[in-house]
């Protein structure tokens, strides 16, 4: 019996994997549905005896089976896109069936949890600190310190919350991990629970990820006995980007409006339901089993660049030929990512800009493609790594329009609590329109004689650009959370590098 492996990852499904799988079944094959290797341009990717074929359509079945397919890519594991990676978090990608406990155990699953239980809470936290793992959600806060804070905070109950509200455009690593290797996340949460003394965990997943939700629910049921007495519940978001901000996420789980909370108090002291709470991103928690396996912490620490330790699953997206997830130690340059690994744009046109770090990340000009992937280096360049999404734009992109979109996105997704974000984003959209449409005079109201203090002369483009810069400063330093606070990054970077796109 011929065994064919095809991913059941949402992206593979969106690209038609089910039809391909059905065709192989029709041809008498046994089809194993596995996780995705993360080479998205090849999905649906068919694996037969370690060799890959893709992107496959049902009509390719006969050729693949008889060895004549032009879509053959050779041994998948040897493909340069895979071979160049240092996969820790995504070590199982493409190789295991996501909901198969035997597959998971056979690939080192639960070793970290069992070891964690044997070494005890203080040692777990010590190893976490030693590994240098920083939060993968964007802020890059050292996970060991956070856990230590929760462990020593007084509280009747403690919680582990996994932030799986992956809303940034250009990111999908969380989704792939949840769909492809859910036990790894569950194991990471169970270790965290053991470390801080938590009894209950929540995974907050955005409602845009129905497949991840289904996989997680199934995996939690399967793993319930292994992680007991710790329990995990999936909570589904409801269409609010801002709930990726940790405090609004907590409010959302509590059944409240997803408004951002002021900090302090930190969630580590007063988090979910007012109790000490570890809140970490999917990839942070998924890195934990590896770190807690024998020698894992030292190994993890040995990877990376400066204070950015370990590996980072970078997501290559947008107008790129070879899109997908690329896990690598920190330090790689954008140039290498986009050209060597990504193969340039999908359209074949020149790269104009790259947005790193989601909708709140700066647009990076090709002049700066030498920037190494590293928290501090990006911060120094007024940019951010965020969740590691890299979205490539070709030369047809209108950077003025994208700057406007950044403000518009902020306006659509603002929780409305703080003034700079609530009003500023809407004014930002209007102002960019005004600048791009050619500066206009003050409105009818302003020209009334009663409006004595208002400017009577038409506002110049320069004045409006200055106002946009002032607005960005107000939002950046005045906003309560990163939504309003970081929206100026894409806006100002676009304005700085592509002023000609602003009319």
């Amino acid at each position: 019996m011929t065994v064919v492996r095809i991913s059941d990852d949402a992206l593979a499904l969106a690209c038609g994997a089910d039809a391909v799988a059905a065709a192989f079944v029709g041809a008498g094959c046994t089809v194993e549905r596995v996780s995705s290797w993360g080479m998205h341009w090849l999905e649906p990717l068919v694996e037969l005896d370690g060799k890959g074929f893709g992107p496959a359509v049902p009509g390719d079945v006969a050729a693949i089976l008889n060895g004549t397919s032009a879509k053959a890519i050779g041994i998948i594991a040897d493909h340069p896109f895979i071979a160049r990676q240092q996969r820790l978090t995504f070590a199982r990608a493409g190789k295991t069936r996501p909901l198969d406990l035997a597959d998971y155990a056979a690939t080192g699953g639960w070793a970290g949890l069992y070891r964690a239980r044997s070494i005890g809470a203080p040692a777990i936290i010590a190893e976490m600190s030693q590994s240098g793992l920083r939060g993968r959600g964007g802020a890059g806060f050292p996970a060991g310190i956070k856990w230590q804070t929760v462990a020593s905070a007084p509280g009747d109950r403690k919680f582990i919350v996994c932030n799986a509200d992956e809303g940034d455009s250009g990111t999908f690593a969380d989704r792939m991990l949840m769909e492809g290797d859910p036990f790894q996340l569950i194991e990471g949460m169970a270790i965290a629970a053991h470390a801080v003394g938590a009894g209950q965990g929540y995974i907050y997943v955005r409602s845009e990820y129905p497949h991840a939700i289904a996989k997680l629910n199934a995996a939690i049921t399967l793993a319930a006995e292994i992680i007991a007495p710790f329990t995990i519940e999936v909570r589904v978001g409801a269409g609010a980007y801002v709930c990726g901000e940790e405090t609004s996420l907590l409010n959302s789980i509590e059944g409240k409006r997803g408004e951002v909370r002021a900090k302090p108090p930190l969630p580590a002291h007063q988090g979910l339901f007012g109790q000490p709470t570890v809140i970490n991103n999917v990839l942070t928690l998924a890195a934990v089993p590896h770190i807690l396996s024998e020698g894992g912490a030292v190994l993890y620490d040995s990877h990376g660049f400066g204070r950015s330790k370990g590996t980072k699953p970078i997501q290559l997206a947008g107008n790129i030929r070879h899109g997908g997830v690329f896990e690598t130690p920190f330090g790689i340059t954008l140039h290498d990512l986009i050209y060597d690994i990504g193969g340039g744009t999908a359209s074949g046109r020149p790269v104009k800009a790259v947005q790193v770090g989601g909708p709140l990340g700066a647009y990076i000009h090709p002049d700066r493609f030498d920037l190494p992937f590293d928290y501090e280096a990006y911060a120094g360049a007024d940019a951010l790594i965020g969740h590691g999404g890299v979205v490539v734009f070709d030369d047809t992109a209108d950077m003025g329009k994208l700057a406007r979109f950044a403000m518009e996105f902020c306006a659509v997704e603002s929780c409305g609590k703080c003034t700079p974000c609530r009003i500023g984003s809407t004014r930002g959209v209007e102002l960019i329109d005004r600048i791009r449409g050619g500066a206009t005079a003050g409105g009818a109201v302003e020209s009334l004689p009663q409006m004595h203090n208002a400017a009577k002369t038409p506002r110049s483009r320069e004045a409006d650009i200055e106002l946009l810069e002032d607005l960005c400063e107000t939002m950046k330093f005045g906003s309560l959370c990163a939504l309003g606070g970081f929206t100026p990054y894409p806006v100002l970077s676009a304005l700085r590098h592509w002023p000609e796109d602003f009319g």
């Binding site: 609010a240 409006r257 408004e259 002021a262 900090k263 302090p264 306006a411 659509v412 997704e413 603002s414 929780c415 409305g416 609590k417 703080c418 003034t419 700079p420 609530r422 009003i423 500023g424 984003s425 809407t426 004014r427 209007e430 102002l431 003050g442 409105g443 009818a444 109201v445 302003e446 409006m451 203090n453 208002a454 400017a455 506002r459 004045a463 106002l467 002032d470 607005l471 400063e473 107000t474 330093f477 005045g478 906003s479 309560l480």
Partner: protein, 951 residues
């Protein structure tokens, strides 16, 4: 006091022993740990711009005007949410901050009307102040952008308007409703730029929402978005006077904000120790009765009650009254005269009325409306604890772990205290409710009673005895406390009594209908759940066993060691603003001020020496006995200050007969009330806004009432009483109420340290105030009980004689609702009628179904005493077999059906238990029609003398 808003420190005070010292703009300041930078800055006299912060609300951090720079910290943290830390160096005014703040303000004003000069909040607007503070000169965005300027105003609330176009989305109103009031009636609707405040759901306006119109949102609003209609009509106040509310026994203090002689608004005073800056719909808004056209401002007399009234001069009215009183006294003796003091009037006025009766009339026939509400409290607590008053201050509830509410409906009758209690409950205290009706506290947003024991009306003693049974038999009593603080022998007698199997919850379930398991669980919780506090109201006292129930409560508190420290105690929730004070002032026929029996020779001698008279050593008549004696012919004249006994006392027919039998009824009141239908002399009274004196609230807190405006009738009530006394030749010469308080202090040990001057200085004092307690006594019985040892009293459950039967199968119990007060004389003359235009009869769906009745139907409510009609509300708030109504409207005359049964010890009427039948009706009863005709007839004022100008 000039008009200036009270200082706002931005964030609440923090109670911490640890102090930190930091530097703000070069000034060193030391504050409790956890204090916000904003508050710390305010304490140095600085002022950081702010809009969303207020010191009665938790820091929120949304407006972003209060950003500061802190050495060594990244960015510009909000000062409201950043706690002060040792050694911090903070800068609140830097060019960078100024630019940021101006940027924020520029955004605000880009979405705000520009009509400051015609705005009702002009010069009283925090947005305006902050725009000025940050130096905003131009809004560079222009005014053509998206905005909220076209949103329609919601004018549904009778007292305030909501204009969303002026809203800055600071959420202060929402937070005030949540945190301060605890109703959660408001929310932010939508999100982002579209965020807007919503009262309730999409289809709601303020009136239809869950809003209880406490006004906390209006007070919290920094703009004109939520604004009193009165401010819109009149303008900004120019001066303010701190005074005390004349509604319930909570005793809220307010700033009466005035424009000339016109009251503009009542703003709760943040320094008020009873209310801490909060209010309810009555105190805050329902003051319009003071200027109502029904106010009578000229004295009137008539020879007999079938004649129309004649307006006369004060001299003529007082002379007429005095001569009638004197001739009756001459003919029938002093004991034919009597008086009723008002629990609505000041301590000083009350003291004068009882002095007039005792020293002037020469009799102890003086009583007060406490007779019909809290007289059992006086008897019961005096017997057990030695003092006729509650043991705690309101702040005590912050320290309670288990709160037992029995026979009280605080959210309706004592709303400001209820908000405090709810806040404590939201923070984790457990609640037990013993009430026949599912009051709001049993279950309302974020509040849920651990146990609700829905007892059969009239079985309080049975339930409390069963609780005591559980506590004693399960070994949960606090023996150490009892041995140290109480009489051990009496405890053992009591413990033996309650331990008897016939007092077990299982046996008594047949009587009380309270499931035994619930009762046991509730008893265990109360005994073992930490600090246990008991709050009770008229559902305890207004029964045949009222005094027994009060003593049973006291027994329970002592048995569980819950007396003498914060968080515990026995807390009567007093109905009227000064019912505590009226009792303190010697309004009862058997005792002089300070609860000293009239038969005590030494006490009498003290008064006799001071007053220069001889006092009758025998107790006088209580109100119901006065009416009995009137029918009997031995009681013939009465002076009633500020009470409407016809409407408020039970068995209206009997009250009417008593009044009708008298030769001289003098009513001293604001309005021609129902009792005045039977009066011969009407002396116009003054409102609390028009007088100076003191009220004493339910926590024994004596607070100043200050004259806000001149009395409409030309005299404060104490002056009228003095004038009547002088018309009788008594030669009194008080020139200021403070002299009356000095006399009280001189004659009353528990008031020895009280004077107006001390009250002005201290804000308020809780009696006893004397050498042992120079600053008053927030908590009583801390070291020992007033009479040495706490006394356990065996309280047998003696069922009432009022029984249901085939003809009267239902039990009627009565109560209050939030928007009205007592007989409604005031609140019915305000827009509060928007919430409760009539009294309704509540009935369980099963009982309604059996009678074929539905909500809105006219029903006939009949008892053995009488009958009335009112409309029905079908609800499962009441248990099957129980019906409930309020008594706020004279048209309903709920007391036509109540009986003459009363508390065995004090004759406090049994309002809470009446056997009734309810059936369909098609209109008012004969009595209601006759009464309406009588009312109209008795209120005629002679045509030859012009009545007060209409409108």
């Amino acid at each position: 006091m000039a008009y200036e808003p009270q200082a706002d420190f931005g964030t609440p005070q923090v109670a911490s022993e640890t102090r930190v010292t930091l530097t703000i703009d070069g000034r060193s300041v030391t504050v409790p740990q956890g204090t916000s930078l904003m508050r710390a800055a305010a304490l140095t006299g600085g002022s950081i711009p702010k809009l969303c912060a207020s010191d009665n609300l938790a820091a929120f951090g949304s407006c972003r005007l209060c950003l500061v720079e802190v050495d060594g910290m990244r960015g510009t943290p909000a000062s409201c949410t950043t706690p002060a830390a040792e050694g911090m160096t903070v800068h609140t005014q830097t060019p960078r901050l100024q630019k940021l703040r101006r940027g924020v303000m520029e955004l605000y004003i880009s979405d705000h009307p520009l009509d400051c000069l015609t705005c009702s909040a002009n010069n009283d607007c925090e947005l305006q102040d902050q725009a000025a503070a940050v130096g905003l000169r131009d809004v560079r965005f222009g005014y053509a952008g998206e905005n909220h300027l076209g949103l329609a105003a919601d004018t549904s609330n009778p007292y305030f308007d909501f204009d969303p176009s002026k809203c800055i989305a600071c959420s202060r109103c929402v937070r005030a409703c949540d945190e301060v009031q605890g109703t959660f009636a408001l929310t932010m609707d939508g999100r982002g730029f579209a965020s807007k405040i919503s009262a309730g759901q999409a289809g709601d306006d303020f009136l239809s929402s869950e809003c209880v119109s406490c006004g906390a949102c209006v007070q919290a609003c920094p703009t004109a978005t939520l604004q009193e209609k009165a401010v819109k009509e009149i303008g900004k106040p120019e001066r303010s006077v701190i005074t005390t509310c004349a509604y319930c026994g909570v005793g809220c203090t307010f700033r009466a904000e005035m424009r000339g002689e016109q009251l503009v608004r009542m703003v709760p005073w943040k320094d008020g120790k009873a209310n801490h800056g909060h209010s309810c719909v009555k105190g805050r808004f329902a003051w319009g009765y003071a200027q109502h056209k029904d106010r009578i401002t000229a004295p009137m007399i008539r020879e007999s009650i079938d004649q129309p009234w004649r307006e006369v001069s004060w001299d003529e009215a007082l002379g007429f009254a005095a001569s009638r009183l004197q001739s009756i006294k001459a003919q029938y003796g002093a004991r034919a005269l009597g008086g009723i003091t008002s629990s609505r009037c000041t301590n000083e006025e009350t003291f004068l009325v009882q002095k007039l009766v005792r020293a002037g009339f020469g009799t102890n026939n003086v009583d007060t409306c406490a007779r019909v509400c809290h007289s059992p409290t006086g008897y019961g607590l005096k017997t057990t604890f030695g003092t006729s008053a509650g043991t705690q201050d309101f702040d005590s509830v912050e320290h309670s772990d288990v709160i037992l509410v029995i026979g009280a409906n605080p959210t309706d009758a004592h709303p400001v205290f209820a908000s405090r209690m709810k806040r404590r409950l939201r923070k984790g205290a457990k609640l037990i409710v013993i009430d026949p009706r599912r009051i709001d506290l049993v279950r309302s947003a974020h509040i849920a009673a651990e146990y609700h024991l829905p007892l059969q009306p009239g079985t309080n003693v049975a339930v409390l005895t069963a609780m005591a049974h559980v506590i004693v038999t399960e070994g949960l009593a606090d023996e150490a406390f009892i041995r140290e603080r109480c009489d051990w022998d009496e405890y053992q007698d009591w413990a033996r009594f309650v331990s008897d199997e016939r007092h077990s919850p299982e046996v008594l379930e047949a009587v009380s209908r309270v499931p035994a398991a619930d009762l046991r669980a509730a008893a265990r919780l109360f005994a073992t759940g930490g600090n246990g506090a008991i709050y009770y109201g008229l559902g305890v006292t207004e029964h045949s066993q009222g005094s027994s129930t009060v003593m049973a409560i006291a027994n329970l508190a002592m048995a569980t060691g819950n007396v003498g420290r914060p968080g515990v105690g026995v807390n009567p929730l007093r109905g009227q603003n000064n019912v505590q004070g009226a009792c303190d002032m010697g309004s009862f026929p058997h005792e002089l001020s300070g609860y000293r029996h009239i038969s005590d020779t030494a006490t009498r001698a003290l008064f006799e020496a001071d007053w220069g008279v001889t006092l009758d050593p025998e107790p006088g008549l209580r109100i119901p006995n006065m009416l009995d004696a009137a029918v009997d012919g031995s009681f013939r004249a009465i002076y009633i200050q500020g009470e409407d006994i016809l409407q408020s006392d039970p068995n209206t027919h009997h009250v009417a007969a008593g009044l009708k039998a008298m030769d001289c009824v003098i009513v001293h009141d604001l309005f021609l009330n129902e009792t005045a239908n039977y009066a011969h002399v009407f002396l116009p009274g003054s409102t609390f806004l028009e007088k100076t004196g003191t009220f004493t609230n339910a926590e024994r807190r004596i607070q100043m009432v200050r004259k806000v405006m001149e009395p409409a009738n030309g005299m404060e009530d104490w002056q009228v009483t003095q004038a009547l006394a002088n018309a009788m030749g008594l030669g009194w010469n008080y020139t200021h109420p403070s002299q009356i308080m000095d006399e009280v202090a001189r004659l009353t040990p528990s008031f020895a340290g009280v004077s107006h001057a001390r009250l002005d200085e201290a804000g308020s004092l809780q009696w006893p105030v004397n050498e042992a307690h120079p600053d008053g006594s927030p908590i009583m019985h801390e070291a020992g009980f007033a009479n040495g040892k706490g006394k356990f009293v065996v309280t047998d459950y003696v069922p009432t004689d009022e029984k249901t039967g085939p003809r009267f199968p239902l039990l009627l119990t009565t109560g209050r609702i939030l928007s009205h007060y007592n007989v409604g004389a005031q609140t019915r003359r305000t827009a509060n009628t928007a919430w409760h235009p009539e009294d309704l009869l509540e009935m369980h769906p099963t009982d309604a179904e059996n009678r074929g009745l539905k909500s809105g139907d006219w029903t006939r409510l009949a008892s053995r005493t009488g009958e009335t009609t009112l409309r029905l509300l079908v609800t499962d708030r009441v248990a099957p077999g129980v019906v409930y109504t309020t008594f706020h409207h004279p048209a309903t005359q709920a007391n036509v059906v109540t009986t003459e049964f009363s508390d065995w010890a004090t004759n406090c009427p049994e309002y809470k238990v009446t056997a009734v039948q309810v059936m369909a009706s098609n209109g008012p009863t004969d009595w209601q029609e006759d009464y309406e005709a009588l009312s109209a007839r008795s209120r005629r004022i002679a045509p030859e003398i012009p009545a007060e100008a209409a409108e």
